[in-house]
Symmetry: C2
Subunit: 560 residues, 2 copies
């Protein structure tokens, strides 16, 4: 739990610092990283993000005098385009929608291609050892470098445009500086190579140029298409290798390239309008990220935070809406696809339709439940652990009247820890007294972050030890969540998803109800008895209207 929280917070801090998008970082964590969210997490995530924002900002202020190299050179807003287009007309909505559709298509294609390639790589390539990974990374960097050098060579140079004297841009840029208008083996002094301008820049600068409103007609359609095809293919191939290329910045590169292309056509087509190519590049970037990652709110905020053009927000929202809808038509988001591929048990936000007609029992009919008695023989535990791969086992005891009673759930990992430490083994087959817990620290049971956890093969016991007993009662979770066997699997799914569970017990329908807890009961416990209970007014806030669920067939089979 703590480990997970830390990794979440570090992730947020990373996004907040790298893109200087603190609120976007919070939302990114909210929308994409977690399948499970409690509102007090928001507060911690926000705290982290706020501290990062203030620290980064202060560090950048301190670095202004050039003490820190490239760091802080872009200002707090990475790609500031606040001076650009601020208004738009009705006619522009169509090309913007087209950008959204392109983003959805290219994004979905990206997800599908990377899925295939990653599958292939995992099946055939990475099994051959670590050297293959290194070789792969070298090969990719070689290919990328070659293409980046050769392609611009094949382009003709263009002559420099007329630039305003106070714009701070020179054409061609002086050797040894960053920025715009690269003279790449151009014969004349006032020429530049537009493809080289994209390739021979930091990605930061390249994106700034693509977004910029000041670089009117800088790129030819041919160069942009060449770059798009090349970069898209390379991004697909590089994804999932040991090369830390990232997904965000390449995504913005791809998107802004085709966005700018569309922008060029719009400029030609709607000559009367005050259209800027940079605006379309920005929308293209948003659309590709939306089409691939399928985020909405967080992408909106991140795009605004990195470009500082709030007036374009409605357009960004529109484009994201379309690109996500188009992408969702084909496949799932990049992260979901990859998480699935890696076998990470990340549950979708909604249960599949088929689950509505299944009961909890149906989901577990393939496997026999293996229970352990409260005091088990070591040899029995070992054989149970060897005989299956379950991660948790119900523990059963005799009640006061001799009837059997489920007293809790014990995890495989905890059993392995107990078997390895051996301190709790006992001679008698009867329950031990209390106080046994003192022999262990909590940390004994925490899985080290680096390892894959213990395996049953790591346990080595003597013949004598195998005959001893172990009382499981102090180590089990005494009340795991339970569901009746004929509950709809869709409801069980929601339970898993909303509470972030790993195991759930399916039990027979209960024979009696000991009590019935309502929201009011919980509020009474919370506040003493000061609550004015207006019992009839609860319906707005308790969203599970059980009857309507029932009528639509969500809650499994009624007993008729």
């Amino acid at each position: 739990m703590l480990k997970w929280l830390f990794s979440l917070l570090i992730g947020v801090a990373g996004v907040a610092a790298a893109f200087r998008a603190p609120v976007g970082g919070v939302l990114f964590a909210l929308e994409e990283v977690t399948s499970w969210w409690r509102s007090h997490l928001m507060w911690r995530v926000f705290f982290t993000s706020a501290v990062v924002a203030v620290v980064v900002r202060s560090a950048m202020n301190w670095c202004k005098s050039g003490k820190c190299g490239h760091f802080g050179s872009g200002g707090f807003i990475i790609w500031d385009i606040s001076g650009g287009q601020e208004d738009y007309s009705y006619q522009e909505l169509l090309p913007m929608a087209i950008i959204g559709v392109i983003g959805g298509l290219l994004g979905a294609l990206f997800n599908q291609l990377t899925l295939y390639i990653t599958k292939w790589r995992r099946t055939y390539l990475h099994k051959k050892g670590k050297r293959v990974k290194i070789f792969e990374a070298c090969l990719i960097s070689l290919v990328t470098s070659t293409i980046s050098f050769v392609l611009p060579l094949m382009r003709k140079c263009s002559s420099c445009p007329q630039l305003e004297t106070n714009s701070g841009i020179e054409c061609p840029r002086p050797p040894g500086t960053d920025g715009n208008f690269v003279n790449f083996y151009c014969s004349k002094d006032n020429e530049y190579n537009d493809l080289a301008t994209i390739f021979f820049n930091t990605q930061d600068d390249a994106i700034r140029n693509l977004f910029s409103a000041k670089t009117f007609h800088e790129y030819s359609a041919q160069s942009l298409i060449t770059f798009l095809v090349m970069f898209y293919s390379l991004a697909v191939v590089t994804f999932g290798t040991a090369v830390p290329a990232g997904q965000f910045v390449p995504g913005i590169m791809i998107g802004s390239t085709y966005g700018r292309l569309v922008g060029m056509f719009v400029v030609k087509f709607y000559k009367k309008l005050n259209v800027e190519e940079g605006t379309y590049a920005l929308l293209g970037a948003a659309s590709f990220l939306g089409g691939s990652m399928r985020m909405t709110v967080s992408l909106c905020v991140i795009m605004v935070e990195i470009t500082n053009n709030l007036k374009l927000l409605p357009l960004i929202m529109l484009v994201l809406l379309i690109s996500k809808a188009v992408g969702d038509f084909f496949n799932e988001g990049l992260y979901e696809v990859q998480a699935q591929l890696r076998g990470i048990p990340l549950l979708d936000s909604r249960p599949k339709q088929v689950m509505r007609n299944m009961s909890a029992k149906d989901a577990c009919k393939n496997q026999k439940v293996v229970s352990l008695p409260r005091v088990s023989r070591i040899v029995d535990i070992i054989s149970v652990l060897r005989s299956n791969k379950h991660n948790g086992f119900p523990v059963v005891d005799r009640g006061q009247n001799g009837e059997s009673l489920v007293i809790g759930l014990i995890l495989r990992s905890h059993l392995l820890v107990l078997l390895q430490s051996k301190v709790d083994f006992q001679n008698s087959p009867f329950p031990c007294g209390p106080g046994i817990l003192n022999r262990h620290n909590t940390s004994d049971f925490v899985k080290p972050a680096s390892s894959k956890g213990k395996s049953i093969d790591d346990i080595h016991l003597t013949e004598d030890e195998l005959g001893l007993y172990l009382d499981l009662a102090p180590f089990l979770n005494p009340s795991p969540y339970i569901v009746p066997e004929d509950m709809s699997l869709a409801k069980v799914y929601n339970l898993f998803r909303q509470l972030g569970l790993r195991h759930i017990f399916v039990v027979p329908r209960p024979s009696r109800v000991v009590g019935l807890i309502t929201r009011q009961d919980l509020l009474l416990e919370e506040n003493g008895n000061n609550v004015t209970t207006e019992l009839q007014s609860t319906s707005e806030f308790a969203h599970v209207n059980t009857f309507s669920f029932f009528l639509t067939g969500i809650t499994g089979k009624p007993q008729t």
Copy 2:
């Protein structure tokens, strides 16, 4: 459910349109309005918000020519201060933190005062009928008008400052226009009354003037303090009456007033720095909203969206952080306090400490569970409904072997509908066949939005009808969530909160486990059998580490 969704979407649309803060609206819904959130809600909320943004923006474009009166006059950004202060120095962090602290204190005080007054009003005033409410509203508007007129009269006029000719501001403003520098009974032509400038403006304009960087030294400290005290008191008194004063805009007014006050001291104190009073007014507004409403991310985004100064984002985050922390020290947020007062069963995000040591059984020991048999006599149902106020009842039947079996939960409201419609009454005390559901529409069971729901006193039955029977099986929820009786109340609380439940059955510890469902089982159902199950790697994503919960005593009493 649907009703709730609509009201949520309308709320989002409202915030998105009124403040022209579409993303802020989404986040507002996320952070404050719902106690319960599923990620596919995000998509719908975002859709609504995006449509609103595009429509509002288009409407404003269309209204530019002045066809629509005041609408759209402010541009898409209400209080655009993007030309203001963009940088800040270390020394300013202290006064900014002070603003945060003031915001937290004043916000907490606001919540507490409005709580007392609303309580008093509900207990003594509003019981006397609707006329009192109207009289109250009239009185408040009279008092507000009088104060607003008399106070500026008592201020001396100041002479107009030197204004840049192209700033678009005139001093004093010409009669009949909106804006700045009101000449309110000032004797000379080049004088203005600074208190009247705040009072005799739309709140929109007043806030714009307070935020603005162009209105240097416009206000005297005395006027600001007078206004702050007056407006704060009036806001407290008006809150909860029939006067639709809102909370957002008055909150911004209050906050920006003391923010500007602090700003004036900073300007005096740090003469060398490039400080602007308007920046502090903005931070003050954020701090008061944060101190009162206790939102973080959504307020950040809303503040940025309404002022368009992204560079101040780190400062807004810092101020919100402090004001929320200070406020949380004293009481809960405005909405939580008011929801509690109204008896709306809104659960906190976290269970109270005391619940960790209670079991589910403890929470329901005060009330006896009243069960109904599957086929009940009408007279019995009536007497059960009259004898208590429970909203749901377990329904019990005999199983195949004659043992008793809980077959589901029936809601009071559904029983009342059935009793009133009478169509399902039957003579025989045995279960009816299937197909009985066809007699009802879903809509029969939906509570009308306007009413408080049916009461048992609305049901009138003849002597004959009382002797008939009713088969409850077709109308019950066959599988409500269940918890074992010794589960920790804190875990039950999370179940309620995360799933948005209204009722939960507390049942005896089960005697056997039919099955055990894991995340892998659910994923298998979802994807066929294509998942590479790496069973050991699940721990990062299943956040409820049951053992650590157990060690810290969260899960109730272990059976030793």
